[in-house]
């Protein structure tokens, strides 16, 4: 698997503020565990295709992932629950690495330098693609109102589950939900 963080980057602008905001609400968020439930979208909803750059400027189109179960996570560095989700997303992705399963973490508004510094601070270097949606066009097309928001797409590329707010992606029930989608035709 290609490592997505191959280029050394600099730039920490924004991190102090992100940490300030984190400090403001971290206590409230951290005191309790994140939930692990996903709301089923019934009937499944088709989503518009998109093409976004990753950390290294390579483009990723959603249609390239057709045939896989895809977890799309909309996030930003200043969002405290996003910070908690990232390590668990990596854990989940590695656990299901031998399956037709993909994670696309779509950052909002920020740039690669900023995110690279953030990941260093977090000490998590995701092996799944971090994509950039600087104008928030893709999140708008998905109807995302707040961060983080996550979607699970089935192998036909349809949204079948949605989660608004941070989730414990390392919870066994999340893995079970994804495995059930992997098993479905």
């Amino acid at each position: 698997m290609k490592h997505r963080f191959t280029r050394r980057r600099s730039g920490v602008a924004g991190l102090p503020a992100a940490l300030l905001l984190f400090a403001l609400s971290a206590a409230a968020v951290a005191e309790e565990g994140l939930s692990h439930s996903f709301a089923r979208i019934d009937p499944p909803r088709s989503v518009p295709d998109f093409s976004l750059p990753d950390m290294d400027g390579e483009m990723h189109a959603l249609q390239d992932y057709r045939g896989k179960v895809v977890l799309i996570n909309f996030w930003a560095t200043w969002c405290p629950p996003c910070r908690r989700e990232m390590p668990a997303l990596e854990q989940l992705y590695r656990k299901l690495g031998d399956q037709p399963f993909a994670v696309l973490a779509i950052n909002q508004w920020e740039d690669a330098d900023h995110v690279f510094a953030y990941m260093g601070d977090l000490n998590v270097f995701p092996s799944f693609p971090i994509l950039f949606d600087p104008e928030s066009r893709v999140s708008a097309e998905f109807g995302v109102k707040g961060l983080p928001t996550s979607f699970l797409l089935d192998r036909q590329g349809r949204v079948v589950f949605r989660a608004v707010g941070g989730r414990a992606f390392d919870h066994p029930e999340v893995e079970q939900t994804i495995r059930s989608l992997l098993a479905a035709e």
């Binding site: 924004g14 206590a27 409230a28 968020v29 200043w78 928030s136 708008a140 109102k145």
Partner: protein, 189 residues
């Protein structure tokens, strides 16, 4: 103020707050900053309202690279970090446009919505649409969200917050009494 005096002051404030607590609204003081938060529990929609210093607001928006005009305007409001949780077994919906804050003179005021902020920023050529509490959302089981709520009052002002939500076709309203805007500077440094 000495550290000892600060600790005593916080303890005194906490004691007073227990007496002031109303219903299921829990008022807490951050022991590091002295900033206050209110948490209304026991309903389908749980709300936490957290004081945010004007300087923090400035830092958040400045670091996003937003123009000084936006930074100044938002930080001129009384800002609260707002966390909402669906604590029920079904969908819960809210709409900020239905919420009101009531000033000590009895006047009821609407709260500036995220859409209004985003439209103003868009008119300035800025596409940023995050950080504010979304205008309205329907939270499914386990869903929650957060964002800034902006009240058009000066630092230290007091008001009652009236917020509402819907479960199926039924509306619910709750009032948190005597909410206080953050001061200009953190009470404890």
């Amino acid at each position: 103020m000495s550290r000892c005096a600060q600790i005593c002051a916080v303890g005194l404030v906490l004691l007073c707050q227990q007496a002031l607590a109303e219903g299921l609204v829990e008022k807490q003081v951050n022991p590091d900053t002295g900033l206050v938060s209110w948490k209304a529990q026991g309903d389908a929609l749980e709300l936490e309202f957290i004081q945010v210093l004007p300087d923090y607001v400035r830092a958040v928006y400045s670091s996003r690279g937003l123009p000084g005009e936006i930074v100044d305007k938002v930080s001129g409001y009384c800002v609260f970090g707002t966390i909402l949780h669906n604590r029920s077994e079904g969908p819960v919906a809210y709409r900020v446009a239905d919420w009101r804050y009531i000033t000590p003179d009895g006047e009821r005021h609407r709260i500036r919505t995220k859409s209004e902020w985003v439209q103003e920023w868009r008119d300035m050529g800025v596409a940023f649409r995050w950080s504010m509490l979304p205008d309205d959302q329907t939270f499914e089981v386990g869903d929650w969200g957060q964002g800034f709520t902006t009240i058009d009052l000066s630092p230290g002002s007091r008001f009652d917050l009236e917020y509402s939500w819907r479960v199926n076709d039924k509306s619910f309203t709750r009032t948190i009494k005597w909410v206080e805007c953050a001061p200009d500077e953190a009470p404890l440094h």
